[in-house]
């Protein structure tokens, strides 16, 4: 554990199933979650591994595209794959996901074409997908922590609709909302936790503690381990090894099921690490040590899962196939990114208001005439 993470008392050891060395060795705190991991089949494990590898390759391709001038910005997810893939698979199809802006793996799991994320970071859109047609995966939210309130309102609306807590876990709905250690300082996040606890809305707050809010360490955000804040709001709080995909899955799945069964919200703190920069615009070597980075690379989520799968007999052909798939995925993203044209001008005016608006009509007509004046007047 690096010195920058506030320590938990021994009796509240983080939930871990796979050690950093890839040994399946559940922590004492993992007991309640074991039934969830026991239900997983080999193909689920392999899917988790595949998703982590593909999204890491995608992520590095996207960062390269930014370096090539194809994107304005890229927020890398490297290092956080287990927290995202585990929790993303824990959500059921009927659940709604409210991401921050780094949950590329969850977007992929929910069926969002990752080119949509590229379009955002290229300057072609502000998101633009319909969550109900994309796995109930809502748009990225750039103002830190704002989405936690939207998620909470959405979960409150599930209650009003009678769409949750009907004793049918296959249809009962819940919300999974992502945010980070930096966001934990935002007022909106506190308000979301207050509203969720007050109305007992069906949701899981999934806090990826990646230890850095751009250049500021988590110790600046909190003197207390973040999962323990849950107690003050009146909900369960669980710290999980966010570099352990099995633990991230099992903890999130159980708490989502508890939420859909009427037991109210919960907070998960997934301890992980942002191996890359905050975004392509920053330089982590200015604010953190190489030894800290190395200590986290030694806890890599993909390596430990590979070791474990190998021990269970996964074939070399499987791993090679995943590598090929990841390379194809990245190549496809690159090909489609460089083929992207500019967005249509109408995108600026057409969606500001639902009802007719005189200024939109007037200004879009003016711009069309202005643009046309250059074409005809050459």
């Amino acid at each position: 554990m690096p010195s920058s993470a506030p320590e938990a008392p021994p009796e509240e050891q983080m939930v871990q199933l796979l050690t950093a060395e890839g040994t399946f060795q559940p922590s004492a705190s993992a007991e309640a979650y074991l039934p969830y991991v026991e239900k997983l089949a080999d193909e689920d494990h392999q899917r988790f591994y595949r998703d982590m590898v593909v999204v890491r390759r995608f992520d590095s391709e996207a960062a390269n595209l930014q370096r090539n001038g194809q994107l304005a910005l890229w927020p890398p997810s490297s290092g956080q794959e287990a927290a995202q893939v585990g929790s993303g698979h824990a959500a059921k199809p009927q659940d709604h996901i409210f991401p921050s802006y780094r949950e590329h793996a969850v977007a992929m799991i929910r069926g969002v074409d990752l080119l949509r994320l590229i379009e955002m970071m290229r300057g072609n859109s502000h998101g633009g997908w319909n969550p109900s047609e994309h796995g109930n995966f809502h748009l990225y939210s750039v103002v830190i922590g704002t989405q936690t309130l939207h998620a909470t309102g959405y979960a409150m609306a599930m209650q009003l609709d009678g769409a949750t807590n009907t004793a049918n876990p296959d249809t009962d709905e819940a919300v999974l909302v992502y945010f980070g250690d930096g966001a934990s300082s935002q007022g909106d996040v506190s308000e979301a936790l207050v509203f969720a606890a007050s109305y007992q809305s069906p949701q899981v707050f999934f806090l990826q503690n990646n230890h850095w809010a751009i250049s500021v360490p988590v110790t600046r955000q909190s003197r207390t381990p973040l999962y323990r804040r849950a107690d003050g709001f009146g909900m369960p709080g669980v710290r999980v090894d966010g570099n352990d995909v099995l633990a991230s899955y099992a903890v999130t799945a159980k708490l989502l099921d508890d939420a859909r069964a009427g037991q109210g919200p919960a907070l998960v703190e997934a301890l992980t690490y942002r191996v890359g920069a905050h975004t392509t615009s920053d330089d982590p070597s200015k604010y953190r040590t190489a030894s800290e980075l190395e200590s986290w690379i030694a806890r890599d989520p993909i390596a430990r899962m590979r070791t474990w799968l190998e021990g269970r007999g996964a074939s070399a052909a499987f791993f090679a196939g995943v590598e090929d798939e990841a390379a194809d995925f990245a190549a496809d993203i690159r090909r489609r990114t460089v083929a992207l044209g500019p967005p249509p001008t109408a995108k600026m005016f057409d969606h500001v208001y639902a009802e007719p608006h005189p200024m939109m009509a007037e200004q879009s007509a003016w711009l069309s005439a202005y643009e046309a004046s250059f074409v005809s007047g050459e």
Binding site: P131, T146, L149, H150, G153, A157, L160, G187, F195, A354
Partner: protein, 327 residues
Amino acid sequence: MSETTVLPMARALNAGLRQALIDDPKVLLMGEDIGPLGGVFRVTEGLQAEFGDLRVRDTPLAESGIVGTAIGMAMRGYRPVIEIQFDGFIFPAFDQITTQLAKMRNRHEGQMTMPIVIRVPYGGHIGAIEHHQESPEAYFAHTPGLRLVSPSTPNDAYWMIQEAIRSNDPVLFFEPKSRYWPKGEVNFESSAAGLHQARVVQTGDDVTVVGHGAMVSVLLQAAKVAATEGTSIEVIDLRSLSPIDYGPILASVQKTGRLVVAQEAPGSVSIGSEIAATVAERAFYALQAPVLRVSGFDVPFPPAKLETLYLPDADRILEAVDRSLAY
């Protein structure tokens, strides 16, 4: 109910909210103290008893939380109507209103609607402490994606609140709290004008005066005094602050050639500034005098014992009318 009834605005709003709750099961009310208390101005009185505490919801005391969770509810098809307790308390929700609510539809490229109404009791004349008498409408009029309206009469309040709730866009509904209790006739059969239409309240030939909310009654008072001095004033109630309905304003300026815009808010970068600029752009040759603004001063709303000096009254309107006529 008979065709017309005489009611104060607070009761007209209550009737309008009640009708909206009856008409559409997706409508729900959220706010601080709006349940058993009926709101600090009693606008929601009796509604929780009638519609239950799920549809008329007392929330935790957190304005950003109220607006943010309403956004989530709207994402699932609800039509939340929020009460912000006082004008000066809207600012904790400023981010959720301007970066989220206003932009949500655009961010989704039209695949999401945000039919949320935020009711904001606003303005002075009530002798209250700091943060309870402000007119913050310009902050929000500056934000694309929002609509802003403000009724000046009980009849408009009854109809406009229902129209705002039916709008598929977010609407900030500014309620002139000093006009909550004066009574006026409410016609329950039909609305006088559309939600975003300005209305000529009184016709006149010499000078056009424009205002909204509580200012309209001050303008009518000024017009009455001016008439005794032989000056004929045309009074226009803006009703909608975003978008502004320029048709009646420009038509009136074509006739009178003179325009005075009045507001309780500070004048700099205000609704009145916007109207003055637009009228100068579109009716320059009709103007016989510069457009004049009568506003609150560019200072924080003063302690209440000074508010009569701060707020434009009929005399300050008439002073501007005289200056306009002197050109």
